[in-house]
Amino acid sequence: MSGPTPTTSHPSAPAGDELRAQKIAFLVMVAIIAIAPAVVYPIFMMKVMCFALFACAFNLLIGFGGLLSFGHAMFLGSAGYVSAHAAKAWGLTPELAILCGTLAACGIAFVSGLLAIRRQGIYFAMITLALAQMIFFFCLQAPFTGGEDGIQAVPRGKLFGLIDLSNIVAMYIVVAVIFLGGFLLIFRIVHSPFGHVLKAIRENEARATSLGYDTDRYKLAAYILSGAIAGLAGATKALVFQLASLTDVHWTMSGEVVLMTLLGGLGTIFGPVVGAAVIITMQNYLAQFGAWVTIIQGVIFVICVLAFRRGIIGEIAHALKKSL
């Protein structure tokens, strides 16, 4: 496979310089997260962070593993349901509820991953889409998910039994910590030996196999990591909005995360964050126009694929000759 990602790394640039650019970008991002609540609604920023983490998790799989999943909503949505149920019905504290959601996504990723990695490329996309649709119908019919209503009025609870998360500042800090933690984890994975093997598999799977790597195990591991982090995003989102609903597990959500990542830049570190911010902002402002949001998203898809394959961050990185 030629690799679906326009790679933006420049081997000629010294590694220290690369890392410095990324450090600066990271600090800018932290600063924006710190200042933004003064300008925009905190709840909006929390939504952006949840989706940014979701997109980053998705990007780990496509951007660095070369696997296009069209079913990532199954992790976001099911983790949301499990954590909402854990917080509401079992009365668990938020950190445990989020842990439950993440573990559930992990389990789903393990089972679906075993099936999906048996095929590659387009088939992988179709299989993940079909499996996600199966999870959707399960969530629609299962007794604890509340069908069309979803799980509403999920209590945010007290973090570690101490800090009341109905306080918006506390909630904001928790979401920011989860987002930045997840982001750094992905950053670490990408730059680890594991991440390099993953990129090698993306570039040339046969070669990686001949070098003695069990490529299926690497792909499965990447898939599970991606699913678990996506689940973390979904579980957090359920607590922020105090709601777990079918929207998060529907195939349109799987499409949205593809769009966010594509728009921001496939295979870039910061691209998914920017892509998520742009798409969420757009949805926010165009919400009253109904179906036009879908149409505009479709148009962005078409433009990105035909003329803008590097994405926003990819283009910036290309212009600066740096990897972001």
């Binding site: 030629s2 690799g3 679906p4 179709m126 019919q141 479709g298 962005i300 078409v302 694929v305």
Partner: protein, 294 residues
Amino acid sequence: MEIFGVPSQALFGQLLIGLINGSFYALLSLGLAVIFGLLNIINFTHGAQYMLGAFCAYLLLNNLGIGYWWSLALAPIIVGITGVIIERTMLSKLYKLDHLYGLLLTFGLALIIQGLFRNEFGSSGLPYRIPQELQGAQNLGFMFLPNYRAWVIVVSLVVCLATWYVIERTKLGAYLRAATENPQLVQAFGINVPRMITLTYGFGVALAAFAGVMAAPIYQVNPLMGADLIIVVFAVVVIGGMGSIMGAIVTGFGLGIIEGLTKVFYPEASNTVIFVIMAIVLMFKPAGLFGTQK
């Protein structure tokens, strides 16, 4: 009369619905397989194009007074032409890239088309009457068979088998199969491969539109009628494997029937049974029942 503890009326009724759904699965997965064979693209717009076929028939009837029979011929041609335009202006730019970009582009197009129609017509279904000649039903002794449903099953079988015949048994089909194997070589023999690719895409799209016209009187004409259907058809394609035309037809009908039977014996699973079968097939035969691993 009861069979396995189920009233035979219900059993045959669901079997019929299964056969009808199977007809559409077969027609749609056939179109996908034909397109994939030559373009190596999974046409995500297929569901939207199926919907376009139904809307085309609806608009022809309500604006120009053109009835079902003409629509059956006109709608596939009209939608097929839009397919040709899409292939020429957009898809053809992507052949040198990874095939996933084709999937993403067609997904975006599906969003646009479905969004536009939802804006214009809302998301509630619009009725389309069964043509006069096909109204009524036959009493088969053990059940009533509505004429239109029998017509759908027969016609889709005929169309599927005709497509199979053209591709597997005629000279045109031989060119097509040769171009699937090795487009450069076929082009070197003086065959205009790019035009063949364009027409193939147009034909695949026309098949989807044809299915849409056939579906209009059974399901309501709805902007989202193809959106969920296409995911099931993807699963059908994964189960059958993309290698063979006959495989697409057989799995399409077969899975429709299995889905119908599930509705009788274990209704809770009727939505998911095809996906479960897909998972099982992937475990034992990753290339699909009729496929060959490329």
